[in-house]
Symmetry: C2
Subunit: 383 residues, 2 copies
């Protein structure tokens, strides 16, 4: 087994920061290509290069110093990654897999069309008229999405009727990851809640699933997860975990794959989105699983065998800290009365609504676990 | 409550490295004064100063950049720390406490003499003749120790009879932490096993105890711990935990205090040594406790409330990796078949017998937990 001793991470956000924390015990060398010297991960990583990940020469020079390359985000141009792969570099996930996390149209065509996995009806709509036609066929409301570059609720619209179909086309669509952004119309799935399953997969195809999480979104941003998803039976849990592994295998993912799902009233799930990196809905695993998603991502990316993804306790709730007190660390002095509460701050300057940290609680009483995480996050957010 | 946002750590060993890992989620800024650019912690910390901690100006310049100062080891000269304290800097632990971890003669006089805590008989012996007289009074064998600077079995001798009393005086005694080293004679305690208790104490005097660990030493080096110590009853556990808190309080420790103990046949314990920093016998807590010793040390040092020190599972065994395979990380590929085994490598160049990492296993079956940790460490050590 070839082990990549130096792993390059492109992107200096909190995901890279938490990957770095996980890398220390594995004695992997981490090289970071960061957007600036003061971004979240750049504040803690030893070996930081500041540069623009959309510039081919910057990425190539950085890649020349590492054994394997992975990502904090999906925004590196696909064609640039392909160029690196031609040189023999271990890009993980590879461009052939990552493109399905970068491009929602390709993802829908592959998972729903080719593989027949549970997906909403969808169509690429070049203009408002096409979107209107899609809505009239499917029934209102519908969802409109940018095919690339959206995150945390940006680039997603709920379209209630024919008169609103111009909205996604008001701003000129940008280019993302080197490709044109298109508008996709999607069937509105009347889901009761959102779920997430995260799997890790090695270059050899070894694959493990984390327990399924219930996720709570507000304004398109994940605010809370509970793991395992309350009320989910073992058969449905197995089925969703298998779905995650099947997608990872079909797409050839190396590293983590997060599958966001919508759960219908009858318990059936529909695929919502994919991410191929550590994911907000897996942050609970730092404190709540035997092996965190960050460690397993690095294990997979560097060619090490995977760690056990199982939960260490009956319930675990993660709550995001979105904006809040200017001095979060001092805030621990107050939430610190709950000595079992785990805090994770990202070293980011405070802005209203910005993800600046998360808190995790765990235990055997679900109501208590959720209340502790919510109360601490509310305090830190100055609510 | 005043929170120290920038904590300076003097010494770049694995304890500083693991403190750094714990600092990331708390968003504390860590500044490291390291012996060289490639020592264990210097390889991962973002903000590293390379310099000699025995040079007053180096330490003063470094201290001027931090809100609180703490240590990876006990070797900074006491008088230098006193000079820093006069300037108002938060030195944690303070020189008035640290001196009892630096100087075993002062420690024995304070704990055994003044406080009447369980200690062996002891005496400062200026020469072989004095050591011989001590042994004749106490009964053979006896233990001889350097008062300062010893570690991992260095500076400790078992003296079997009058003829061996010259041994500790063969080499000229060095100066350590700016003070003269003396030879102490100590009663030989016929212990059945060694125990350790670690407590964390804040500047305000809040104090928590970790569960008592059984520790196994070979050639004076800790090779294994099991937590809680097997066969220890709740009353004895409480008593030893209270002993740890009492010592921390009596000495005014801020940060961690580790108390190494010898357990006699009747279950009574005798104080062996003190350390005022994260300790090898507390490494299990990274994976095995709600809050690791490293996080609680930083919480105490920076003025934050303490986290819960309780164990998360019935049994946890830590095994040191002493020397071994040149490529430890690749070694995970083999021990990785146990996905629940936690590995912690220190980024140190390999030398026979050197502490280069540790492994931790946990679970509900003591024999299984110990066997898994031993088997993995043996593999990594190429045994």
């Amino acid at each position: 087994m070839n082990v990549a001793h130096t792993v390059g991470i492109i992107g200096g956000g909190q995901l890279a920061r938490m990957m770095y924390q996980a890398s220390i015990g594995l004695d992997l060398n981490i090289a970071l290509l960061a957007e600036g010297p003061d971004v979240s991960a750049a504040r803690v990583v030893h070996d930081v290069t500041v540069g623009d990940y959309t510039e081919a020469q910057v990425v190539k020079d950085f890649a020349a110093t590492v054994d394997a390359l992975t990502f904090d985000h999906e925004h590196v141009p696909t064609r640039l990654l392909e160029e690196l792969e031609v040189t023999g570099l271990a890009v993980r996930p590879g461009s052939g897999a990552l493109v399905y996390a970068q491009d929602k149209a390709l993802m829908r065509a592959k998972l729903g069309g080719e593989l027949g996995l549970p997906s909403p009806r969808w169509r690429i709509c070049p203009d408002a008229e096409a979107l209107r036609a899609f809505g009239n066929e499917t029934g209102w409301p519908i969802i409109a999405k940018e095919s690339r570059g959206g995150y945390d609720g940006h680039g997603v619209w709920r379209i209630d009727g024919p008169d609103d179909c111009g909205e996604p086309f008001q701003e000129s669509l940008e280019v993302s990851a080197g490709e044109r952004v298109e508008i996709i119309g999607e069937e509105f799935v009347d889901f009761t809640r959102e779920l997430s399953v995260i799997v890790a997969r090695t270059p050899e195809g070894e694959c493990v699933s984390y327990p399924v999480s219930e996720t709570v979104q507000e304004h398109g941003i994940c605010v809370e997860t509970t793991t395992p998803a309350p009320g989910i039976g073992p058969d449905r849990q197995d089925e969703i975990q298998r779905l995650g592994r099947d997608i990872a295998s079909a797409l050839g993912v190396v590293g983590l794959l997060a599958v966001e799902l919508m759960e219908r009233r009858d318990g059936e799930v529909v695929i919502n989105e994919l991410a191929m990196r550590p994911h907000n809905t897996g942050h609970w695993s730092i404190d709540g699983a035997v092996t965190s998603q960050f460690e397993n991502h690095l294990r997979a990316v560097s060619g090490l065998p995977l760690g056990d993804p199982t939960a260490r306790q009956p319930w675990c709730t993660m709550r995001n800290v979105l904006g809040g007190r200017p001095d979060l660390t001092a805030g621990i002095a107050h939430v610190g009365r709950d000595g079992g509460l785990k805090v994770h701050f990202y070293g980011k300057t405070m802005r209203p609504g910005r993800k600046v940290g998360h808190v995790t609680s765990y235990g055997s009483d679900l109501a208590d676990v959720q209340a502790r995480a919510r109360s601490a996050a509310a305090y830190l957010m100055n609510e």
